[in-house]
Structure formats: C-alpha cells, structure tokens
C-alpha cells in the first residue's frame, strides 16, 4: 500500500507531463535526490525547513530541464535522460555512497507523523496521494490551466493560435512532476527514515508504466490521473504477488516491461475502437 501510494504520486506527475506530449525520465533520480537532501539538510534546517528545501530543489531541477527542452529545443527524452544520470551522480557525490538516516528526535517531529504515520491502520502516504489526486484532477479538468495543458498535448499549433502561452504550461507541468517526485521521496523517508544511493532507481520506468497502464496516451492530450494511480496499484500488487509466489525478484522488472508494452498496444486498440486518432 505504502509503495503503491508513493509510486502513484510519481505516476500522476508523469501523467501530467505525458499529456503535454513530453516525457520525464528523471523522476526516479529526483525522488532519490530529494530524499537525500531532506535527510542531509535536516541537521541544519530542521524537518520543516528540509522538506521545503527538498521540494524547492526538485522544482529547480524540473525548471532547468523544462528550459533545456523548450529553449534548447532538445527532445525531453534526451534532456531528462541526461537528468536521470546527472541527478543520480549528484546523489553519489553528495552522500559519498553512504547510508544516511534521520536522527531519533527528527523522527519524533509532528510533521513526520503527519507524513509517515497511520490513520485507521492505513499509511498516511495513501491519504496524501489521494488528496493530491483530488486537487490535481480538479486543476486538470476544471481550470484554465488544465484545459490549456490538454489542448497543448492534443494540438500544439492550435493551442498557440488561440494565444495559449504553451511554454509556460509545459514548464509548469515539468516543475509539478519533479515536485511530486520529490514529495514522494519525502513521504518515503517519513516512513522508512534512511536513504540509500540507489533510492528510486528504475522508478521512472515504473511511473511511466503506471501512467500508460492507467490510460495516458503517449501521443499526448488524453489521460487520467486516477488511472495513473490505479496503474501504480496494479504494478505494486503484482510485485508483491510475485514475491509471495516465490518468483525470483528479477522477474518483476521483466513483468513491468511486458505489461508496459501490452498496455500501450491495448491503449491504442482501445483508442481506435473509441474512434480516436491515437
């Protein structure tokens, strides 16, 4: 449940970026870096300060990548692939490859209970993710920003011709995606308060798989945040099911890959059936 909520949080951000017809491969690294930043900065800034600093850091990474994509006119696939490696490298350098953990007094902070505790036996992370789902869905389907984001993903030149500031919208989507990944990193640490250099490796692929399984079309303009969250639940439940069945852990990655391909084929077939030009 906890992992599904975390993955769902990242997948929703990913779905937003995919709906603008871009992709963000760096979310796994941003997730890890924000976690590392949160733990490292906690000593100086306190829990709340470290959380804000971590989110600001994530937002900056999103901003830099969006600028490279939009001003540098480099495909987002390339920019965020670079981001994936570069940010992971920063984690290695910053932590020196060591395992860091939060001191006891920080774990007792009220914010950590709010983010990592339980309510009615259910992890807080799930409530946070559901809250984010509600807010982001409202923004996507009921605000000008959401309308313009969907329009941009569906037909960029039309959005431009109607006076939409398309670069602003895309930049916001990238920043939101990075911040959601960062927030997921903090949620993770609130629950298991130690970080490792490999935290979040391959998570970008799981997030993309979850978003695509949830019905977000890679061609942009169509998708669902609820679907992304459900996709995260499917991936996670299969992971634990495979482990319970005694399958070697390595099979899990193969499964995600196969399901991703199957989901894309299924999406396209379904879209064709519904009469959309996918």
């Amino acid at each position: 449940m906890h992992f599904a909520a975390i993955l769902g949080c990242i997948a929703m951000g990913q779905a937003l970026v995919i709906m603008t017809e871009e992709i963000d491969l760096s979310v796994g690294s941003v997730y890890g870096l924000t976690g590392a930043a949160f733990i490292t900065l906690e000593a100086n800034l306190g829990v709340f300060g470290a959380m804000v600093a971590g989110l600001v850091l994530a937002a900056c990474i999103g901003m830099v990548q969006a600028t490279a994509v939009l001003k540098g006119r480099v495909p987002s696939m390339i920019v965020t692939l670079g981001g994936l490696f570069a940010v992971r490298g920063i984690i290695y350098v910053w932590t020196g490859g060591t395992v860091r953990s939060l001191p006891e007094e920080a774990r007792a902070h009220w914010l950590m209970h709010l983010l990592g505790g339980e309510l009615f036996g259910i992890e807080a992370a799930l409530f946070w993710t559901l809250l984010l789902l509600a807010v982001l869905s409202l923004v996507l389907w009921r605000t000008s920003f959401g309308n313009r984001l969907l329009a941009e993903g569906g037909d960029l030149s039309t959005a431009l011709s109607q006076g939409v500031r398309t670069n602003q919208i895309k930049t916001t989507a990238f920043v939101l995606c990075s911040m959601l990944a960062g927030f997921a990193g903090i949620l993770t640490l609130a629950d298991k308060p130690q970080t490792h250099v490999t935290l979040g490796e391959l998570m970008e692929l799981e997030a993309i798989a979850a978003a695509v399984m949830g019905g977000t079309l890679l061609s942009g303009g169509r998708g669902s945040l609820l679907g992304a969250l459900l996709g995260a639940f499917i991936i996670t439940s299969v992971r634990y099911e495979l482990i319970r069945l005694g399958a070697p852990a390595a099979w899990y990655i193969s499964f995600v890959g196969l399901v991703l391909i199957a989901a894309v084929i299924f999406n396209q077939t379904l879209a064709k059936w519904a009469g959309h030009r996918a």
């Binding site: 969907l150 329009a151 993903g153 569906g154 959005a159 011709s161 109607q162 006076g163 303009g221 030009r277």
Partner: protein, 261 residues
Amino acid sequence: MQKSEKTPLIEVKDLDLYFGMFHALKNVSVSFNAGELIGLVGDNGAGKTTLIRVLCGIHEPSSGEVYFDGQRVTAFHPKLAIEFGIETIQQAVGLCDNLSIARNFYLGREPVKSLLGLRIFDFALMRAKARHVIGEFGLRDNVSADDEVETLSGGERQSVKIGRAVEFKNRVVIMDEPTNHLSVREREHLNDLALQLRDQGLLVIYITHDIFQVHKLADRIVIMENGEKIEVTTTDAMSAEALEDVIRQGGRAVPKKVAVQ
C-alpha cells in the same frame, strides 16, 4: 492618429520579412477596411499565408510598419492579435480534436468563477454558449456541447470556428483556404457565413486557390507572387478569367488600365 472614415482597419507599410537568408515578404504595402471581403490569391509560396501570419502575430516583420485601426502595432504575439479581435480560421488549426466543443470554444480565454478561492471553469456558461453556436451555425441537431471535436465533420469544424469568431465580437476574420475538403453544400454554407460576417461590418480576408469562387465573394482581390504584392483590384474591374491569367503568368500579364489601388 485621428480615427476617421478613411482610416483602414489594417494597414501594412513596406513590410519585409526574412527567414534567415530567405526573403519571404518583399516590401509589401496594403490596406484593408472594415466591412470588406478581401480575396487574397496567388500561387503556392507567394507569401499569402506568411502575410496573414504577421497579421495574427505568429511572425514578427523584419522591417516595415503595421497599423491596426490607426494605431502602430509594435509587439507581435498570437495573444495580442486575439486581443485586437483578429481571428484566424485555418483548415488544420484552431480546434483540438481531444477536447469537447465547449472546451475548445473558450480555449485561451476560459470563463472562471471562484470556488473556495480556486478559479474554476464556469461550465454552465461554456456549455450554453457552445450549444447556442451549435444551433446557430448549422451543426447537426444531435451534436452536444460535450462532444469531442473529433466527432465533427470538416464543415462543422469550420462552422464552430466561425461561430467563435462571431461570438467573441471579433473585428477581423482571416480565412486560410477555409473550403478545402468541404462538400459542395458545406462550402456554400461557409461562403454564406463569410458574407454575413462582412455585412456585419467585419473585415474578412479570404485566402484561396479557387479564383472563381473568391471572385464571386470578394469586394477586392489582392494578388501576391514570390513574396510581393503584385496587384490589387476590385472584382468589378477584372474578370475571374483575367485574374487567373495574372496568377498563371505572374505580374507580367497585369493589364495596367484596370489596376486600381
């Protein structure tokens, strides 16, 4: 500048536009008045679309002046053109397939109301207006405001775009080959709408390859070739056949005595 009867709605003076080394528009000067239907014709690559892209803010001219309603235009962006009331209707652009008619209608200028401090859509208003346009502009009766644009025919799409141009009280409607791929009946419907817009006092600029069709519709015709304006004529002064000859042979065939400025 004093606004008078004589002030053209759009005036272009000595306009040059370069794309890198390519000289796309060469010293173009032309003026358009409100309540006029202008036919803009010329071969492919003549600069017709480039000229209107300047007018709707997509390209910034390299040199020259553009006046709107007597005011010098100094900044070029599609958003500004929309604020001036210039609406462009193109075959391929203008509506997003993946959005409903209501959402498309207000794209870029969505009406919002405040809910708990969050500015969300006024969906009731959006639907009502979209329904009104569906009824007024000849779409099928069973089309709903929530239908995605993808389900509309080519003619219905053009009708929605024209409906939008009218509902937002535009002053200029630029139609870039609006009747391509339309059926005969849809084409006639669209041309009727173009004339209605003109009669309501709007400036309509109509780009097409169909000389005979535009000759019937337009008040004045502007002929372009190789990025230059080679001729401006009224439809009374030049027959459609003569017009076609001019385009076929380039500026050489212009009979000087019928040329009017």
